[in-house]
């Protein structure tokens, strides 16, 4: 039989020392203790935990169910120490590659003085309070906050456990607490030593310290080092289980046909042909479209193709991207809601243009809708079990998803078990405050009825055409440089769609801070500075896309400043530095990256040019220099990227470097190639990776990352690598070709492609 399965907590770097069986057995016992001890610790609604697929063979399930939690030390909701010495950290953030399993475990291990090889990690259950993100006030992952919001909490969780282990040891050996030391997973005093597992049962009886003592960061042993990631082994052996990999007994495969336009609704459908096909179980109308149920994927997909549906598009968004762009462009000609207004920009621009022989610059930028397009499309398995509902999905906001599933299924949220799965990427796509996907999956399960588990899998065209995009944005920037080369004015008008209003987090009409992030806080000292925004509606649902408002504002601010500096006769690095005033951390990363690249201006050898950008987002500071040539396709070829990041205390330097590289690759893919295009009538043009392409491995630049040493509290890394990537590349491209690309992506812009003939010798 197949049983729904969860990944082994032993995301198992330590497993190399064990054979598979004992590894699996340890998973068995840990599964059990996690369940029982967590319930004991706080009555938590822990989901069904079962071992990795290899174990989920006939007969194994019972072994799992009967595994007990005897002797497990559970000092709080985050740390479990078992008699076998394994330390399991219950991770409140979803793991989709950004590294919280490793990061949060590192912080606990540090304060606990554990050995890295004894560390394990597992997903927390849905619990909006116990496992809340302090940045949100509810349970959720996003905004590059996993380490930042958990840092103090995980330190205290580890320090508390350590103090209780020490107290247990002192009691056992009849020595003073101050005589007990802990190092590398071993507790010792004079001639006595004990492992964590040996002390676990006694530690459970100790009183937790009211205020656990935290380490001096100068004494950190694990934080700041390159540790092997905890999910390495299962992800390189094919054993990691994602939502897509759940094939519980008797599973029904469901696919869905959505309306062809955003806001259109189903009028009628004809499934007669589909229902004749072998393996097809049912076709049902759901609020989100037409759901097709079958015994396997092929049957479901074939049936979906043979359904004819008619849709009511009366309330649909029927404008094309081009029309929406024109509407936004019109709005951006006039100031909107004011985010910043210092001095008098109109006066300064007028003076430069007409009085003091200065120069002005007026550029309209276009940023298209973008899909997140994670490797794993949205998917979920939902099963009714009597009055309970069990669900498996890569949930970024588990409590919200749990509530949405409960509402649709007509049960109380406490009767819904939500098992957060590994997810094959997200980039913001799974962070859904209103839980529209969880609600859709529940509707699909409910419409089928009965108690078979229903697995809804989106196809790639569901994904690319499924909305919840990075908002289409038009920005108009005006600037002025006086005759002495001072930048005297910066006037920025952003026309976009508010995500917080779209997702229902904010129903007001006041300025949404995400709309102007990265622009409102422009770090350059420009006397006359105005940023305003128009929050416009479309029928297209929008969502946070890796780096959110910074994804558009970072591009246009950092390419615009580059042009103003050139007009002012300034070097891109020195010119920025001079304008950064007391923004020391901006200056720190800019200087570091300039040193790394031995910056001496935009020129480089071999027909290449360089561009720079610096941008703060999610409280982290990133500067990049890109070295670019003209590729064979006439588009930019990025050869090399130097990247400096200041994100406070660097918990896992290898993860930070990986996130910078990932942000650069993801960002360049979008800036160069990507747009979701609404055609006339409102249907989306693109449907798969052939039309929505990414950088391939041979197109990925070599990236060299340097992390600024800092004792400040850690800040985000998942997103901040992205915003400077596009503009640094584009600035190099402008140096190389003279083309300032303001309408994205590069592939859609006539002036983006260089005419090789005219640019040979650009570097000489």
């Amino acid at each position: 039989m197949n049983t729904p399965i969860n990944n082994s907590i032993a995301a198992d770097m330590g497993a190399a020392m064990q054979d598979n069986v004992s590894e699996d057995q340890s998973v068995v016992s840990r599964r059990g203790f996690l369940l029982s001890s967590a319930v004991a610790a706080g009555g938590l609604a822990i989901g069904m935990y079962l071992p990795s697929r290899a174990d989920a063979r006939p007969g194994m399930a019972n072994v799992m169910q009967n595994a007990g939690g005897e002797g497990v030390f559970a000092p709080n909701a985050f740390v479990r120490i078992a008699p076998d010495d394994t330390v399991t950290v219950v991770i409140k953030h979803i793991e989709f590659g950004q590294g919280p399993y490793t990061g949060l475990s590192t912080i606990v291990a540090e304060e606990l003085d554990a050995s890295w090889s004894q560390m394990r990690a597992d997903a927390a259950p849905a619990d909006a309070d116990t496992y809340k993100n302090f940045a949100f006030g509810t349970q959720g992952t996003g905004g590059s906050t996993a380490i930042a919001n958990s840092y103090e909490q995980m330190r205290k969780a580890g320090a508390t456990a350590r103090a209780m282990l020490v107290a247990a040891a002192a009691e056992r050996w009849n020595v003073a607490v101050s005589d007990v030391s802990v190092s590398n997973g071993v507790v010792s005093a004079t001639a006595n030593t004990a492992t964590f597992g040996e002390l676990a049962a006694d530690a459970m009886r100790q009183n937790p310290p009211k205020k656990p003592t935290l380490k001096d960061p100068a004494n950190f042993k694990l934080i700041g080092t390159n540790l092997p990631k905890l999910d390495s082994r299962i992800k390189t052996t094919g054993k990691a289980i994602y939502t897509l990999d759940q094939y519980p007994d008797n599973v029904v495969t469901a696919v869905i046909e959505h309306a062809p336009q955003f806001g259109a609704t189903l009028k009628s459908f004809d499934a007669a042909e589909a229902l004749k096909q072998p393996g097809v179980l049912a076709v049902k109308a759901v609020p989100q479209g037409v759901a097709v149920y079958a015994e396997n994927t092929a049957a479901a997909l074939k049936a979906k193709q043979s359904i004819t549906a008619s849709w009511d598009s009366n309330k649909a968004e029927t404008r094309s991207s081009e029309q929406i762009r024109a509407d936004f462009s019109k709005a951006a000609r006039k100031p909107g809601l004011v985010a910043v207004s210092n001095g008098n920009v109109d006066q300064a621009i007028n003076d430069a243009a007409n009085i003091d022989k200065g120069r002005t610059l007026d550029v309209e930028y276009f940023h298209p809708f973008l899909a997140h397009a994670p490797m794993e499309t949205l998917d979920a398995v939902i099963q009714r079990q009597g009055k309970n509902v069990v669900s498996w999905l890569g949930s970024q906001f588990p409590a919200a998803d749990q509530k949405a599933i409960a509402k649709v299924m007509g049960v109380s949220p406490k009767n819904v078990t939500l098992n957060t799965q590994f997810a094959g990427g997200s980039f913001g796509r799974r962070a859904q405050p209103g839980a529209p996907f969880a609600a859709e999956a529940a509707e699909v399960a409910k419409a089928f009825g009965g108690d078979r588990p229903v697995k809804l899998m989106w196809t790639r065209d569901n994904d690319i055409r499924g909305g919840w995009y990075r908002p289409l944005t038009v920005a108009r920037l005006r600037g002025a440089v006086d005759a002495s080369g001072n930048i005297t004015a910066w006037d920025e008008t952003i026309a976009t769609q508010s995500i917080t209003q779209e997702t229902g987090m904010d129903s007001g009409k006041q300025l949404d801070p995400k709309v102007v992030e990265g622009s409102k806080d422009l770090p350059y000292g420009i006397k006359n500075h105005r940023v305003t925004a128009h929050q416009l509606n479309t029928g297209v649902p929008v969502l946070w896309w890796r780096s959110v408002g910074h994804s558009h504002n970072g591009y246009h601010t950092e390419t615009f400043i580059d042009q103003l500096l050139e007009m002012a006769g300034k070097d891109p690095v020195a010119g920025r530095m001079a304008l950064l005033g007391d923004h020391e951390r901006h200056k720190g990363v800019l200087q570091r990256v300039a040193d790394m690249a031995s910056w001496s201006g935009t020129h480089a050898n071999d027909g290449r040019m360089r561009g720079v950008a610096v941008h703060k987002s999610f409280d982290s500071y990133v500067a990049q220099i890109h070295e670019v040539s003209i590729g064979n396709d006439g588009l930019p070829k990025v050869h090399k990227v130097w990247c400096a990041v200041d994100c406070g205390v660097a918990v896992n330097p290898n993860v930070i470097a990986a996130q910078m590289e990932g942000g650069i690759g993801y960002g360049l893919s979008a800036i160069l190639y990507n747009a979701v295009t609404l055609q006339a009538g409102g249907k989306v043009l693109e449907s798969n990776f052939d039309q929505y392409r990414s950088l391939r491995i041979h197109e990925m630049p070599a990236v060299e990352t340097s992390v600024i040493k800092s004792a400040k509290a850690p800040t985000g890394v998942g997103e901040p690598g992205l915003p400077p990537a596009g503009p640094a590349m584009a600035n190099a491209w402008r140096a190389l070709t003279g083309n300032a690309v303001s309408s994205l992506p590069f592939t859609a812009t006539a002036n983006a492609s260089a005419r090789r003939k005219n640019t040979t010798g650009a570097s000489s």
Binding site: N20, L227, P278, A658, E661
Partner: protein, 170 residues
């Protein structure tokens, strides 16, 4: 077997999956990827684009890398199918798997099986590939997370039989 549809139209197919004789009753229209994942229970190969564009479903068919989303299950009758799950010998990881661990050559992990299987095919053909051969071998394997640089490093380490940099792993 979870396919409850009428057995008419199904064919009994025997293939050697990771060295084991495996018999499946499948409809001719079903692709190898789906058969491996749903019927055989090997979910390491991933379904991502279903059009041969991303490489996440890469397995070996008679030793050659194929996109299993584009191969029909019945085409594999009598053939040898090797997947990520068969790469390690007991507890002994394949050197490519070990190098992926040593060099953090993945992020979300969804493309990882395909990346490793593409590289495995390369190394079986040419144990000392050039950097260009390495990149070409995985140029059909999409990674949306952008773990590319470490994937190349991992492959280079396998080629050079390099020891990983010293890391604090006790």
């Amino acid at each position: 077997m979870s396919d409850n549809s009428p057995t008419s139209g199904k064919q009994l197919v025997t293939m050697t999956v990771n060295g084991e004789q495996t018999e499946v009753a499948i409809e001719p229209r079903r692709v190898l990827l789906d058969v491996l994942r749903h019927d055989v229970g090997l979910t390491g190969s991933k379904k991502v684009c279903e059009m041969g564009d991303c490489g996440a479903c890469t397995v070996h068919l008679d030793g050659a890398p194929v996109y299993s989303c584009l191969v029909l299950g019945i085409e594999c009758a009598g053939k040898k199918v090797d997947t990520i799950e068969g790469l390690a010998k007991g507890n002994q990881l394949d050197p490519i798997q070990q190098a992926f661990i040593d060099h953090d050559a993945f992020q979300c992990g969804f493309c990882t099986s395909g990346q490793i299987m593409s590289l495995k095919a390369l190394f079986e053909d040419s144990p000392k590939p050039s950097d260009e051969q390495i990149v070409t071998a995985v140029s059909g394997n999409l990674c949306r997370c952008g773990a590319y640089q470490n994937i190349v490093k991992a492959a280079q380490a396998v080629r050079d039989e390099a020891k990983p940099e010293t890391r604090n792993d006790d």
